[in-house]
Symmetry: C2
Amino acid sequence: MLEDKNQQRTPLEKMGEFGLIKHLTQNFELNQASSEMGIGDDAAVLDFEGKKTIVSTDLLVEGVHFDLAYMPLKHLGYKSVVVNLSDVYAMNAIATQITVSIAVSNRFPLEALEEFYEGVALACKLYNVDLVGGDTTSSKTGMLISVTAIGVAETDGIVYRSGAKPNDLLVVSGDLGGAYLGLQVLEREKEVFKVNPNSQPDLEPYAYIVERQLKPEARKDIPELLQKLEVKPTAMIDISDGLSSEILHLCEASEVGCNLFEDKVPLDPIVISTSEEFKMDSTMIALGGGEDYELLFTIDQADYPKIKGNPNLTVIGHMTEQKEGAHLITRGDTKIALTAQGWNSFDS
Amino acid sequence: MLEDKNQQRTPLEKMGEFGLIKHLTQNFELNQASSEMGIGDDAAVLDFEGKKTIVSTDLLVEGVHFDLAYMPLKHLGYKSVVVNLSDVYAMNAIATQITVSIAVSNRFPLEALEEFYEGVALACKLYNVDLVGGDTTSSKTGMLISVTAIGVAETDGIVYRSGAKPNDLLVVSGDLGGAYLGLQVLEREKEVFKVNPNSQPDLEPYAYIVERQLKPEARKDIPELLQKLEVKPTAMIDISDGLSSEILHLCEASEVGCNLFEDKVPLDPIVISTSEEFKMDSTMIALGGGEDYELLFTIDQADYPKIKGNPNLTVIGHMTEQKEGAHLITRGDTKIALTAQGWNSFDS
């Protein structure tokens, strides 16, 4: 519904495989001191000068992870990079390079790929990472994106999922549930558009949550903030699949339990009002929604004064002995076992 | 035609996304000293202790890069890894880690993915690389594989495409054209099978070239050999798209020309006889065929005595001034301009 029907269309066959990747990446510069060789040889060459190399990779499939009916390609390029960088920040590391590979069918003209790479370039600029490699190929149907994010960290700075101890505080950045509700709003507008193709959706009231879905940001600022506050989390993970699922990952890796307090879960007012509009429970959305790309981490209680009152961070619970299990303490003071409500791409 | 119809079929929905990746990778061990954290956190952590990090990535699409009608999944897993490692060896570096991501439709049962990962595991073992990450997701149609290979090199050991000088000798490992002809044999058998599903193909006479196609090997041994011989190539590339195309890449990156001698191009006897059977010119197949995964490199003439007579290496030409261009000198002493005959995945 956001497509411009009058756009120029250059068929990909015209470009050839080498011409295409060269064309798409010609304006990318290398800005990281660690990037010695980017695109243009058999492989990239990086120099982390004795520090640790961090590597994370993700695959995004059209019709499974994104819908081009409402996802502009520039946003898709941006989001594909951001969701991978989020994994690097979740190690308490600095993201430095990415590789981006795409497979597209012939229905995509060159201009569509240029738009996608504009989004990639914007993310590279804002997050200060270099594009150092990738592959471009054809697919039989639809679009598929594979991104590998690379980062660097000092040995003693890396935070794994496995370091949480009983009595550690559970902390989350930002607010939750917005991306999932943004998707609900977009899906509703898509249905309206199918019935009446002349309808002009008014997404303005939902701007925050629609942006959380279409153009999410990774919390590059949180590892920087924590370093400034002299807080090293004991464990950390990024919230890609919903708070509940990520808490269970931390508990499993760290061999601890957890009490999560419903009244502490940070929700934006538009998340609360849109939940009511869709007749959904906002806590369930925050717990199961996913795609928020906030950071979830645990800290020693002794560090609490350092983060207290920081508007970016909310203490939402504390860790317990493993045998106590992982629970949600509701507003009504009922204790409910947490279950993974994470999104399962095979379950359709 | 190689499919076993009686195999067990466990639907992927049963596994869930986290269960699936855990199940498929549970038997993979980390053997590299540089692998500090593999699968199981937000990202892998590697320590190259001050040496350079090498990164290369590839995307393989069903129906474009492989045909499951004759490609057993175990071979596909093996080949997906090997073609990426080849890019690392082409930097004169040592491959140390890989990440493997796959997207599959629901027509693939769990057992199919297990078979694929058996091939990945075999390649990891034989090439001594660790699987440290990946993603598993669903696709709307078909199978797609994304592999990122990571390696390590000493600063002064890395060989780029750009260092060749006029008068350097052009050297290739192994022999050429086999993988392309293996594909022709398999395609022919597939057509026979379509007409008569009870036919049993006799591939035995073509064993070498069919194996070059289905289970290629990367030349891990060549950088090791060159180090032993105390030869540092001036430029290097791997042959994935055909000799002609790769020579042109070297010439462009190094700003030189080249004379390639037809009578020097190494061909296995079965490549010559099968070319005749298919009424094709064996030189054209070696020049344009692709997927041989041999290494093509240039050396200073002073290093010639060190490689002379080595059964793994053949001198096939020499570099010239750029203005002289890149040419094939035929057996009949005719000079023909080299053109990229490399395979273009968008041109179908």
